[in-house]
């Protein structure tokens, strides 16, 4: 599997791998930068990765619009369950977002808890440092 790119990719990869080992129900993960760049994806380079990045950006924007319509600053987390599975999103303090997919039957509350618990570490990894 191909992961992130650039000098910080190792630490970002470690944090996301940590989530996957912490939460066995996570099937795939992605990280969007504050600017909407796909920093990490479970996908190899190519069309699928680009497509996934575009859809996640659109989803983030739609969620941001929903927050604005309700007079809120931002969405803290999103859970979308369909017959294909669950797509989970957790906002990061720097404006980025962490996404994960699970099966439709997954205990998404636990997965979201695990996703929230790695947010700080993830933001540090995105900055390229641990301090």
């Amino acid at each position: 599997m191909e992961r992130g790119e650039g000098p910080e990719s190792g630490s970002l990869e470690q944090v996301v791998e940590g989530l996957r080992s912490l939460s066995g129900e996570v099937e795939s993960c992605a990280v969007l930068s504050p600017g909407g760049e796909l920093l990490y994806s479970s996908h190899l380079e190519g069309v699928e990765r680009e497509r996934v990045g575009a859809v996640l950006r659109a989803l983030s924007e739609a969620v941001r619009d929903a927050a604005r319509r309700h007079g809120k600053e931002r969405a803290e987390q999103v859970r979308i369950r369909t017959e294909l599975g669950c797509l989970l999103m957790v906002s990061l303090e720097n404006g980025g977002a962490l996404f994960a997919t699970t099966s439709p039957q997954a205990r998404t509350g636990l997965v979201l808890y695990d996703m929230r618990s790695i947010r700080g570490e993830l933001v540090k990894a995105m900055r390229g440092g641990r301090g």
Binding site: S41, H43, L59, A62, E73, R81, L84, S91, F99
Partner: protein
């Protein structure tokens, strides 16, 4: 004659049973469809939660985007 009556009863029972099984299957499909497409939950920064109505354009749009990535994973 009693043999024919018995056969009729058997056929009628089979038809009624088949109809019941069919209705139950339709019910299961309908309820599955309602749950399947449209469970969206957005939690805002202040802890309040927003659940768009299942079937609403907003819910369908978000679920549609989710399906596009769920097909291949993120």
């Amino acid at each position: 004659m009693s043999g024919r009556r018995g056969l009729r009863l058997l056929l009628a029972g089979a038809l009624a049973g088949g109809a019941l099984v069919g209705l139950a299957a339709i019910g299961r499909l309908r309820s599955k469809g309602e749950v399947a497409g449209e469970e969206v939950e957005i939690t805002f920064e202040d802890g309040t939660t927003y659940l768009p109505d299942p079937g609403s354009p907003e819910s369908r749009e978000l679920a549609g985007m989710a399906d596009r990535v769920l097909e291949v994973g993120v």
